[in-house]
Symmetry: C2
Subunit: 317 residues, 2 copies
DNA sequence: GCGTCTCATGAGTAATTGCTCATGTCTAGA
DNA sequence: TCTAGACATGAGCAATTACTCATGAGACGC
């Protein structure tokens, strides 16, 4: 066939990967055809396609809402009075519910950023949110502002691992306001110190004005993110469990009814409580282990929207 | 037509297809694993996945702008003073440039419909537009209105084949105003008759107020859509070519400089000329055979945006 | 300059997917 | 009731894709 004149003088490797993947997935060519087209060996074509997949260049969407998921969404909305609910079909055997969750949640975030009117968008952190943001497509959303509602420094002084706001800013070109202090203060004084820092005051003020918040939901227990990532000690964890902790949002711990605990851990969080003012809050999370935490958050009306997966949705209903 | 099942307790076949495809593409399961999961034979799993693809349920996007296409976009914008330009990587050997064009053009349309402020969106028709719309995802855009700028009845009295506006309305739930008369009148009197019909006057009035128009570009010649689809006779085609016709938009024929011809065919078109008022016009089209027509439209400043493919872009530059 | 390490490559091969065909089932019509 | 036709099914096989491994070309440090 007529090989289109490719004057590839300086194609980057990722460009090649993207092109190979395009020909493969969109064009429906076979890998040997792609190889010929690109003038490389068949193996290389295969590797380019595989690389595009591995690099996350490939986004697959299913343009058909699976009926049972739609039902779950409807039921979730009704049961918990949510404004929005999205349920991803679970992938059994997947090591992690994020595999299914992220591709469904990402468009929800894109949707928020596609709004024309400038908005202030508050962001939490965490592994879930990070994975979702990674799946977002880059969109031009410089009119919005993104602000973090939680500190970005881990207890050991390193940058918090599941940084979200910078990634979002990368994807959207939105001005961003991280909260450049530790997630937790050690005591009241330190909390006052951090809170009083000009840039923190600024971020907090902005976050309080947020038009919408996007957060993950953390479980409590031996696998609690707060504990696993070293933000709280085993003793604090035990104390929280003692106090009836069921989950946390942005580090703020609540009980099974979704009421924030009167507990030192909560007092020492430098970040804001979400929701701060009754504004919309989109929660994202799935997994058997998170189900109780999510249920608690829903029970307390802490969320106005939820993205989860099928299995979790069933547990919630 | 798709039977919109409320609660078909046993999943509809398309549901199964969508779920199988989800597990395959998103979950990364093998077809035999899917078969086990769904409790069907391996062949059936394979057929479900194949069916999902065939039914167009699978939408693949490559999250990486290929550098050479970006360059072409930039060059197109600069050369022709466009506000927007998108270039799809060509798929060599594809029977039709639409394979590549539609997946790139569809998000552009979605983008237009995602605008919050209510808009009036004028639509042309044609095979290209139809294929693109088919690829759009359904979005809730009831705040907008879509109006057709061209009649929807073929010369033989049948509904025009490449109906676009109804499909768009399906996808967006937008109120829609087709122009329910023949594309072309046979003479001045008939033109006056059609134009005077209340619903046509209404549609035309609305179309004149459109905030943006989305159109295909037709070539002139033996393969001219206008001719192939029977809107004009061989004699009219010859006469148009004689008069220097280079292309057409919504049936209105223009020369190589993009100036509309003073010709009976143009006079008899019941639809509106686009652009009617200098508003934005997004043109969609690709293919060697359309290149001259597109170049003419660009030369005449008839378009403010263009979606095309790599090969065509190169021809235009 | 030389060894070694990493990484890309292509060959060969295993695994997976897609296709064809013979067969079975269901429906409609005589 | 019987028969033809349309369609779904699973077996078997061909085509395609993915993986493993041995090799060689730079890159880097000694």
């Amino acid at each position: 066939m007529a090989r289109s004149g490719h004057d590839d003088r300086d194609t980057s490797p990722q460009d090649d990967a993207a092109r190979a993947a395009w020909l493969y997935y969109v064009g429906g060519l076979r890998q040997d055809q792609i190889a010929e087209e690109l003038g490389v060996s068949r193996q290389r074509a295969q590797r380019l396609v595989a690389r595009a997949v591995a690099d996350g260049l490939i986004r697959v969407r299913i343009a058909h809402p699976i009926a049972s998921c739609l039902e779950l969404e409807r039921d979730l909305r009704a049961r918990y009075g949510l404004e929005r609910a999205r349920v991803a079909p679970s992938v059994p055997g997947a090591p992690d519910p994020l595999v299914a969750l992220a591709p469904v949640a990402a468009p929800e975030l894109e949707r928020i950023f596609l709004a024309e009117a400038p908005r202030i968008i508050a962001l939490g952190t965490g592994r879930t949110l990070r994975a979702v943001v990674e799946q977002m497509q880059t969109i031009d959303a410089g009119r919005h502002k993104v602000v973090s509602v939680i500190g970005n420094v881990a207890p050991d002084g390193s940058a918090s691992f599941y940084e979200v706001i910078m990634r979002v800013a990368d994807k959207t070109a939105a001005p961003h306001y991280p909260m450049a202090v530790p997630v937790m203060a050690r005591d009241r004084d330190e909390h006052r110190l951090y809170s009083g820092l000009p840039h923190v005051r600024n971020a907090r003020a902005l976050a309080k004005m947020a038009d919408i918040s996007i957060v993950g939901v953390g479980q409590i227990g031996q696998d609690a993110p707060l504990y696993v990532d070293g933000f709280i000690t085993a003793a604090e964890l035990a104390s929280l469990e003692e106090a009836g902790a069921a989950g946390e949002i942005c580090g703020h711990v609540f009980d099974a009814e979704g009421r924030f605990l009167d507990h030192p851990v909560n007092h020492n969080m430098v970040g804001l409580r979400v929701p701060h003012d009754g504004g919309p809050v989109l929660g994202i999370g799935a997994g058997v282990r998170k189900a109780a935490a999510i249920r608690a958050a829903l029970a307390g009306g802490l969320l106005t929207g939820l993205v989860t997966d099928e299995d979790t949705a069933k547990l919630l209903l």
